[in-house]
């Protein structure tokens, strides 16, 4: 494990010295969270100034959205809807984009710069190398995602919670999802990106292929917005188990790629 840390720390040092990568890592999540908070602000302001539109809005919503909200007043229902519909899948997109920026450079970049060979001839096991390559994007992407969540909590709770007797955001589903689903999802995304980077002919090809990984997240967002609520107390345990199994399978595949064919002729 120590050598995996050496590899990750070396790569973090390189990332910290890359102005453009650092710029994107900071700018992208800030913009995404800022936009979400602003949208919720405008949305709440509109309905608070146009209370007559609240009923119309609620009646046009799919019934699945309003499930479990029967104890709330109409304005409270309106307040809680945006974070229920778009909020959580949004928090899968942030780590996916963050890790993609770093991981597409992983093996493909090392191969392009001829730095992979010294690493492959050093006494580092395939497991240590793969773990190092996982830690490199995983840690910063998770830190950025959790920091973004903290920012979102600060902004959104100010807009929404005053309309309730006790705070409703973040609720247990949000906290469990961000604390557990996000890391498991991120680990799977990183592993898939590493597999792509190990087989891709160039960084450009790896970046292009990584974009395909955002389709499942966009699918989740689409399902949520059509009323199919994926994040609930009933679905979360299954989601966690499935993601853990997927991560284990991808890790095994990653080791096989390193050992058998991906990096050597």
């Amino acid at each position: 494990m120590k050598k995996a840390w050496f590899i990750a720390m070396k790569e973090w040092r390189e990332i910290l010295r890359d102005f453009y990568v650092m710029g994107i890592l900071v700018f992208l999540p800030l913009t995404m969270v800022g936009t979400l908070v602003l949208l919720i602000h405008f949305y709440m302001t509109f309905f608070l100034q146009n209370l007559d539109k609240v009923q119309l809005m609620l009646s046009s919503m799919p019934s699945a959205y309003l499930k479990g909200l029967s104890g709330y007043s109409d304005i409270q229902k309106v307040a809680i809807l945006p974070i229920k519909i778009v909020g959580l899948p949004f928090f899968l997109l942030i780590p996916l984009l963050m890790s993609g920026i770093i991981t597409s450079d992983s093996f493909a970049g090392e191969r392009e710069r001829n730095t992979l060979e010294p690493l492959l001839t050093a006494p580092v096991t395939d497991r240590q190398l793969l773990l190092g390559k996982i830690l490199t994007p995983f840690v910063p992407a998770l830190v950025v995602t959790w920091a973004s969540f903290a920012l979102l909590t600060k902004g959104v709770s100010k807009l929404i919670n005053p309309h309730f007797l006790s705070p409703v955001f973040p609720d247990t589903i949000w906290i469990v999802s961000v604390a557990l689903v996000v890391p498991l999802f991120l680990a799977g995304a990183v592993l898939a990106e590493i597999l792509i980077s190990a087989r891709a002919s160039s960084v450009k090809a790896a970046s292009a292929l990584n974009m395909l990984l955002s389709f499942p997240v966009l699918g989740v967002m689409l399902m949520q917005s059509t009323g199919f609520v994926l994040f609930s107390a009933r679905t979360l345990p299954w989601m966690l188990l499935s993601l853990a199994a997927l991560d284990a399978a991808l890790f095994t595949a990653g080791l096989r790629v390193l050992r058998d064919k991906g990096l050597r002729g």
Partner: protein, 325 residues
């Protein structure tokens, strides 16, 4: 103090390749190549571009898998095990450095991968930087280094763990003559000389003669001939090209050389005061030539024996194999 070498040279060959074949698509890079390097010896692979030198080194380093045949390091099959990687230092083609790191950061990273603790790493890095004339304190990132400097950093990297086996692909390419000499002395001289077994690929015949105990001439993935350079010269060269520079060259100097024995292809270049000839046996002929010229009042500035006949053997072998499939 560095940790003791993981495996000390035994009696069997330290480097062995058995009937290795390797193709890239339709291109045959190695065609049944076999070789052995005994402990403490320096073995040179010389051949034209695309001969299979780098492929041989990459297979030995575990970076390529042969289609057929096997490679061994100190008796261990090259299967990329940690044991084989610990006893190996491989310098392959381009230096391949992390451009955003400083020299100290780069070498410390690899020292830690090679299990040196902080103290050992610091001491070893300092010693190697001193040897290779690198400023360990520099804050400049490696991306700003010249090609020669980068090559020196790569050399320092492969020497960090003091490995008993070195695989060197054009190790002195891009180095200035002074550093080339220092590197050569470090690798091939000193008390540790016999502890290291070295396979070196080079285009530079003079370097091969200077450093190698045995030389293999490789072409189209096959070894055409191997032996010490004296043996190769004896088998395949009819003489050596000798070049002399004189203070003042005269027309009659050519006749004096001709009278000295078995010499041919005498050439005079009066503009550069340069006299050249081919001698079948330089050890026999050169003292006679020098004595005759000196007796005639010629003032000899320098005498060089080019390629010591190896260039001739090399050319003959390569040209002779051109017609073969």
């Amino acid at each position: 103090m560095l940790p003791p070498l993981p495996l000390l040279p035994g009696t069997g060959p330290m480097i062995r390749i058995e009937d290795v074949h390797k193709s890239f698509g339709t291109v045959k890079a190695l065609d049944g190549l076999s070789l052995e390097v005994p402990p403490g010896k320096v073995f040179g692979l010389i051949g034209p571009n695309g001969a299979g030198k780098t492929t041989t080194i990459r297979i030995l380093a575990g970076l390529l898998r042969p289609d057929e045949g096997r490679a061994f390091l100190n008796g261990l099959g090259q299967d990329r095990s940690i044991e084989t990687r610990r006893i190996l230092g491989a310098l392959i083609e381009q230096p391949g450095l992390y451009g955003k790191l400083t020299l100290q950061e780069y070498l410390t990273f690899f020292a830690r991968l090679y299990d040196l603790d902080r103290g050992q790493a610091r001491k070893r890095i300092q010693d190697l930087c001193e040897l290779l004339d690198l400023n360990v304190q520099t804050r400049e990132r490696l991306q700003g280094f010249s090609l020669g400097m980068k090559q020196k950093v790569a050399l320092a990297r492969i020497l960090l763990h003091d490995p008993p086996i070195l695989l060197l692909d054009e190790p002195t390419a891009g180095l200035d003559p002074l550093i080339t000499k220092k590197v050569r002395e470090h690798l091939l001289g000193g008390k540790d000389r016999k502890r290291k077994t070295i396979l070196i690929s080079t285009h530079n015949l003079d370097e091969a003669i200077r450093v190698c105990d045995e030389i293999a001439i490789i072409h189209k993935g096959r070894i055409l001939e191997k032996g010490s350079w004296e043996e190769l010269r004896e088998r395949h060269a009819s003489g050596c090209r000798v070049v002399m520079y004189l203070r003042e060259l005269r027309e009659d100097h050519a006749d004096l050389v001709k009278e000295s024995g078995a010499v041919s292809e005498i050439a005079l270049d009066p503009d550069r005061n340069r006299l050249a000839y081919t001698a079948a046996d330089v050890a026999e002929t050169n003292p006679l030539v020098i004595a005759r010229l000196a007796a005639a009042g010629a003032r000899i500035v320098s005498v060089e024996v080019e390629g010591a006949g190896l260039d001739q053997a090399y050319s003959r072998l390569i040209e002779g194999s051109e017609g073969t499939p």
